[in-house]
C-alpha cells in the first residue's frame, strides 16, 4: 500500500515538474556580449524594421535594441544582466533619471534604499543594485 502511494506521488511529481516551469526573466543577448534580463511575465516585445522595443508595464522596465545588434534571447531564473551598477544604500541620486521597478521615478536628491532600480539615459536602461 505504501509502495503504491509512493509510486503515485512519484508520477504526480514527475508530471508537475514536467509541466510547471515559471521563469523569472527573459534575457536578451547583444553582439557586444551585453546581457539584459527583464521580468518575464507581462513582457511585450515589438519588432519593427530596425529595432526591438522591449517593455514590461507591470515593472516599468523598458529597452530599445537595434536589430543588427540582437543575437538571442532565453528564459532564465537568474538575473544575467551584465554591467549592473552597484552602490551602497543611503547615497543620493543627483544626475541620472532613476526609476524603481514599479516605474516610479525617484526624485533627484533622494537617498536610495536597498533594492533594484533602473537608470535611464535616453533610450538606454541600466540596472542599479543598491546594497
Amino acid at each position: 500500500m505504501r509502495k503504491a502511494l509512493l509510486l503515485i506521488m512519484i508520477v504526480l511529481f514527475g508530471m508537475a515538474t514536467a509541466h510547471a516551469e515559471e521563469y523569472t526573466y527573459l534575457t536578451i543577448v547583444e553582439q557586444d556580449g551585453t546581457k539584459t534580463s527583464m521580468t518575464a511575465v507581462g513582457l511585450s516585445l515589438s519588432f519593427n524594421s530596425e529595432s526591438l522595443t522591449v517593455s514590461n508595464a507591470y515593472t516599468g522596465e523598458s529597452k530599445v535594441i537595434a536589430l543588427n545588434s540582437l543575437v538571442s534571447m532565453n528564459f532564465s531564473n537568474a538575473d544575467e544582466t551584465t554591467g549592473i551598477e552597484t552602490m551602497d544604500n543611503g547615497q543620493w541620486i543627483m544626475d541620472n533619471d532613476v526609476y524603481d521597478l514599479q516605474g516610479q521615478q525617484v526624485p533627484k536628491g533622494r537617498r536610495l534604499v536597498k533594492g533594484i532600480y533602473i537608470i535611464r539615459k535616453g533610450n538606454e536602461n541600466r540596472k542599479l543594485l543598491v546594497r
Binding site: M9, E21, L45, S46, A57, Y58, L67, L70, M73, F75
Partner: protein
C-alpha cells in the same frame, strides 16, 4: 509521519498550481502562435532574413508577449479590443490564481467615496478597483444631483492608478405611462412592481423595446466618453438573473427578483446578446464582460446551478458569483464549482458582505483565509451599506478591511498602489 506525508502532498499540490509562461507570437502576416516558454530554448535572431528561431521554428515576429500560462483561460477578451481593454484583460489574466484584486462599490452610483473611507479611515490603502453603477442613468438630465456625463469621478480614479468596474441595475418605469421624476422615483428593477416585460423589450414597436434601446444609448454615451479618454472597465450588467428560479423545491416565490430574469432563461440570454451586439455596433470596445451566475448565495443544497442562463463563451470574459455571509470554506467550494463549470473563464467574487438579513450574523470570510482555502477569485467586491455603523459604510467590518489590506497580505491582495498595467 502523517505530517510529513501531508507536507509532501502539499508540495506536490503547490507544484501543480505553479504556472508556467506562454509566449504569444504574432507574425508580420497576422498569424498568432502560442508556445510554452519552457519549449522556447535559446531563441536565435537571424538578421539576414529577419526571423527569430523559437523552439526550432523560424518566425517573422512582429510582436511577442510573455504571459502566465493559465492554460485554460482565454488569452483575449471577447469584446475588449482597445489597447486599454487588452492591457486590463491581460493584467487580470496574469494575476489570476496568483493574487486577488481588491475592490469596493461606490456609495450607490457615481463616486469613489467608500474607497476613500477605507483608505483614510481604516487601512491607509486604496482598494485596487472601484465599482460604479448606472442605476440612476434613467433619471432625467438636469436633475441637479447626478450627472453621468461628467466622467470626473471615473477619470480621477483612473488617474491615480485605479481599475474601473461598471455595473447596471437597469431600472425601468413602473408602467408605460409612468413619468420618471428628477428625484429618481417612478422606476424599479423588481418585476412585481412594473408592467415592463422583458420579452417585449426584444419586440420592435413595443414601449419596452423603445425604452430598452433609449437607456442603452444613454449608457453607451457615457462608456464611449470613457473609451475616448483611454479608459477600459470590467462590465457587469444583468446580474443575478436567475434569482430564485433555480430552487429545487418550486413554490410561488421561486422566481427571478430582477425583471431581466423574470421571463426565463431564453429571454434573458437574448437580452444579454442583444445588449452585447448593440454595444459592439455602437463602437463600444473597452469593456471586459462579466456574467453573474446565481444560485441564491451559493446554496447548492437547495438551488440548482443556472448554467441554462449562461449567454455563452463568446459573450463574456469572466464569471461572477455574489455571496453574502459565506465563510472561507464556502467561498472555496463556490469558487471550485464555478471554475469547474466554466474552465476557460476567470471567476470573480462579484459582490460580498455579511448576510443582508442580519448584519451582526454571518460575515463574509476573511479574504486571505478564503484565498488560502482555495477561493482564488480574480477579484472581490464589497457591497455598500450606509447604515453599517462602521468606518467604511460597507458590508464588512473595519477589521475585515484591515486584514485584507495589511502589508503582510500584499503578496495575495492587490491594492491600488500595486496596480500597474
Amino acid at each position: 509521519m502523517k505530517k510529513r506525508k501531508l507536507t509532501l502532498l502539499s508540495a506536490i499540490a503547490m507544484a501543480f498550481t505553479m504556472m508556467a509562461q506562454t509566449i504569444t507570437v504574432t507574425q508580420a502576416d497576422g498569424t498568432v502562435t502560442q508556445i510554452n516558454a519552457s519549449d522556447a530554448g535559446n531563441m536565435i535572431w537571424t538578421e539576414t532574413d529577419g526571423t527569430l528561431n523559437i523552439g526550432g521554428q523560424a518566425y517573422k515576429v512582429a510582436q511577442l508577449d510573455v504571459d502566465t500560462e493559465n492554460a485554460n483561460i482565454a488569452t483575449g477578451s471577447v469584446a475588449g479590443t482597445t489597447d486599454a481593454a487588452k492591457r486590463l484583460y491581460r493584467y487580470f489574466r496574469n494575476n489570476y490564481g496568483k493574487r486577488i484584486i481588491s475592490s469596493v462599490m461606490a456609495d450607490v452610483a457615481w463616486n469613489h467615496s467608500l474607497a476613500e473611507k477605507i483608505k483614510k479611515n481604516i487601512t491607509g490603502k486604496w482598494p485596487a478597483m472601484n465599482c460604479y453603477d448606472f442605476i440612476h442613468i434613467c433619471v432625467p438630465d438636469g436633475n441637479g444631483w447626478i450627472d453621468y456625463s461628467d466622467i470626473t469621478p471615473v477619470t480621477e480614479w483612473v488617474d491615480k492608478g485605479g481599475i474601473v468596474q461598471l455595473m447596471w441595475h437597469f431600472n425601468v418605469p413602473l408602467s408605460e405611462t409612468t413619468t420618471i421624476e428628477t428625484n429618481g422615483s417612478g422606476v424599479t428593477c423588481s418585476p412585481d412592481k412594473t408592467t415592463f416585460k422583458a420579452s417585449n423589450a426584444l419586440v420592435d414597436g413595443t414601449w419596452e423595446n423603445r425604452y430598452f434601446y433609449a437607456q442603452m444609448d444613454r449608457v453607451i454615451a457615457v462608456i464611449l466618453k470613457l473609451q475616448e479618454a483611454g479608459i477600459a472597465a470590467t462590465w457587469r450588467p444583468f446580474h443575478e438573473a436567475a434569482g430564485n428560479a433555480t430552487a429545487k423545491q418550486q413554490a410561488n416565490w421561486t422566481k427571478a427578483w430582477f425583471w431581466w430574469g423574470y421571463d426565463g432563461a431564453e429571454t434573458y440570454k437574448k437580452l444579454w446578446i442583444t445588449m452585447f451586439d448593440y454595444f459592439k455596433q455602437k463602437g463600444v470596445n473597452n469593456l471586459i464582460w462579466i456574467w453573474t451566475t446565481q444560485n441564491y448565495n451559493g446554496n447548492s443544497a437547495n438551488y440548482n446551478q443556472d448554467t441554462d442562463w449562461y449567454p455563452g463563451d463568446a459573450y463574456c470574459d469572466m464569471i461572477a458569483r455574489d455571496l453574502y455571509g459565506y465563510n472561507a470554506a464556502q467561498n472555496a467550494q463556490e469558487f471550485s464549482e464555478i471554475q469547474a463549470a466554466y474552465p476557460n473563464k476567470m471567476v470573480v467574487l462579484g459582490e460580498c458582505g455579511w448576510d443582508s438579513s442580519n448584519k451582526t450574523g454571518k460575515p463574509q470570510g476573511d479574504i486571505v483565509e478564503c484565498w488560502n482555502a482555495g477561493a482564488k477569485w480574480g477579484h472581490f467586491m464589497v457591497w455598500y451599506d450606509g447604515n453599517a455603523g462602521n468606518k467604511s459604510n460597507t458590508m464588512v467590518s473595519d477589521a475585515w478591511w484591515t486584514s485584507a489590506m495589511k502589508k503582510e497580505n500584499t503578496g495575495i491582495v492587490i491594492n491600488r498602489g500595486l496596480v500597474k498595467y
